[in-house]
Point group: C2
């Protein structure tokens, strides 16, 4: 039986999502679990990953070439170790080694945003583009660069951590230990934090949002704010305008540095579509250095939604296996 | 006679510097003029360039393979047009075309920081490095990326404009039209501006600096502040500490995004050496996201000093001619 399939696993701050993915990037089956809280041991996260993989390999193991893991953390240049994961409990975690002992097909590890960017370049919004910057707005901000069809991983494997570029000196404290990181202003966490601060201040602006959670600010989630904005709640719309503005600020900075042709905005927050992207485009156009005297990058939403990470992880893993295999004689 | 030499021209905000450069990056002859003020027409800048080239080609024209221009501006992807130059008078200037009519050997145009980075990678501080970020502190901040021995130019040719990444929202106005650009906090202009503001405020801190310019703040230059700092003037040292701090902030941001193995700091301000670099390293180590859980890039001064730009421009131009030439049969 040919091994045309791959399993992709996307490990974020809140969920472990897996999929069985074919060579065209189609997801044939899905499995998911909540991410264990970062106060638990790394082994618990591993157990969760192994469970999701086992579920997807059940009955298909002979057709699966590889398992790809996209992890929300600093994946070292060896593509085996997670050096640091601000939203998980990993520190120098030998993830590939630990998982490979428990999974019967070859494992590849990559950063989750690298995986998502790869998927968008192969199958999604960035096909055919030579210089792509991916910005994933989830719990934090993940990022990646695809240059001429290659992920730019950096000298130590940790490129694309755009979320930890400082945009406000002395600003909001970040889980990475710094202050004023971009992801404190343009991410799902930032969106929820700002909404909750209105709610706990008993602002009349928050009446609609409070009603959606029966008065409990801690019950509020990002998708609830997206729903409220879509329903026309002006406070929710304003919150997206604010997040979108900061998204535009950071994108203008990245355009100054990398000069890509395309920015692809993915992650859970991007489900809000133009509620997020239009304010980002407005700020970007106002803030881009040399505007009016240069071509400008386009800013588009991701095409593969929340599944980009697992699709890309699967495709990268399959590619690794193909590249490792001895070349056939023609 | 073999054409083993090339002419390199570095056009900055204050000077047009030229050199006759051999294949090992040695500068055999030099010529320079002041850059005409940006209020003059583009043609005047062209005249100045042509004069410098003519001086260097005089008696050597048969040995020169190419003339390379490194310009402080946004050089478009065609490597012929300067789209925008905040410190010069060019807007969509067809520089290669205009100069080629007046110069008898092939002309290549590139961004000045790309040229300097190329020189450091070929002959200087970045030899053998796979992921290099160059930061040039002159009038403003120029920047470039060298990845696996290739300059990363971006989709439209304008990558590396690090100086126009915003580091302070609503901060100092920049000549590019924005506010809070990095080069307003870590460049020669910033250094001189801060020193002058102390002088015009009649701060007792500025006594030593004022004495160096006979009481005329407008006569103060960056190199004078460097001299004062070297002589132990505490105010000048503090100014370099401040500029160095902001240099470190921006470098930590670039490390988050690109994850290079090496930062090379060049340009006129870098002549201050550790007076500038040590504060930068201290802030970088304090500000780098994931510090302690990741390898850290080194920060070193440029090896080729102010001549990196012209050496790199010459070498890139020679390379262009070689690559354009029909391949010899072995």
């Amino acid at each position: 039986m040919s091994r045309a399939l791959a399993v992709g696993i996307d490990i974020g701050g809140t969920k472990v999502a897996g999929g069985l993915v074919d060579a065209d990037g189609q997801v044939l089956a899905r499995a998911r679990r909540d991410t264990p809280h970062r106060s638990t041991s790394p082994a618990v996260v591993e157990d969760t990953i192994v469970e999701v993989v086992a579920e997807l390999l059940s009955g298909t193991v002979d057709e699966v070439a590889a398992v790809g893991i996209g992890a929300a953390g600093f994946v070292a240049a060896d593509r085996a170790t997670v050096a640091f994961a601000p939203h998980l409990s990993w520190r120098d975690e030998p993830l590939e080694h630990n998982l490979q002992r428990r999974v019967p097909v070859p494992i590849s590890v990559d950063n989750d945003a690298n995986a998502a960017a790869w998927a968008e370049w192969r199958f999604g919004a960035a096909q055919g583009q030579s210089h792509v910057v991916m910005v994933n707005l989830g719990t934090g901000i993940g990022g990646a660069l695809v240059l001429d069809g290659q992920i730019m991983r950096g000298r130590f494997g940790i490129a694309g951590e755009f979320g930890h570029m400082q945009v406000v000196p002395g600003g909001q404290r970040c889980e990475c230990g710094n202050k004023g990181c971009w992801e404190q202003y343009a991410s799902g966490n930032a969106l929820v934090r700002e909404a909750r601060s209105l709610m706990t201040a008993n602002s009349p602006m928050a009446t609609d949002l409070l009603a959606r959670v029966d008065g409990d600010p801690l019950a509020l989630t990002g998708p609830m704010i997206t729903d409220a904005a879509r329903d026309g709640d002006t406070t929710a719309i304003e919150l997206f305008t604010e997040i979108g503005h900061w998204l535009g600020v950071g994108i203008a900075n990245l355009a100054a540095a990398f000069d890509p042709g395309l920015f692809v905005i993915g992650g859970g927050v991007s489900a809000a579509g133009d509620l997020l992207l239009e304010p980002a485009r407005i700020t970007f156009r106002r803030q881009l250095t040399g505007r009016g005297y240069r071509p400008e990058a386009a800013i588009v939403g991701a095409a593969l939604g929340n599944e980009a990470g697992l699709i890309g992880a699967a495709d990268l893993a399959r590619r690794d296996v193909v590249e490792r295999a001895p070349a056939e004689t023609p």
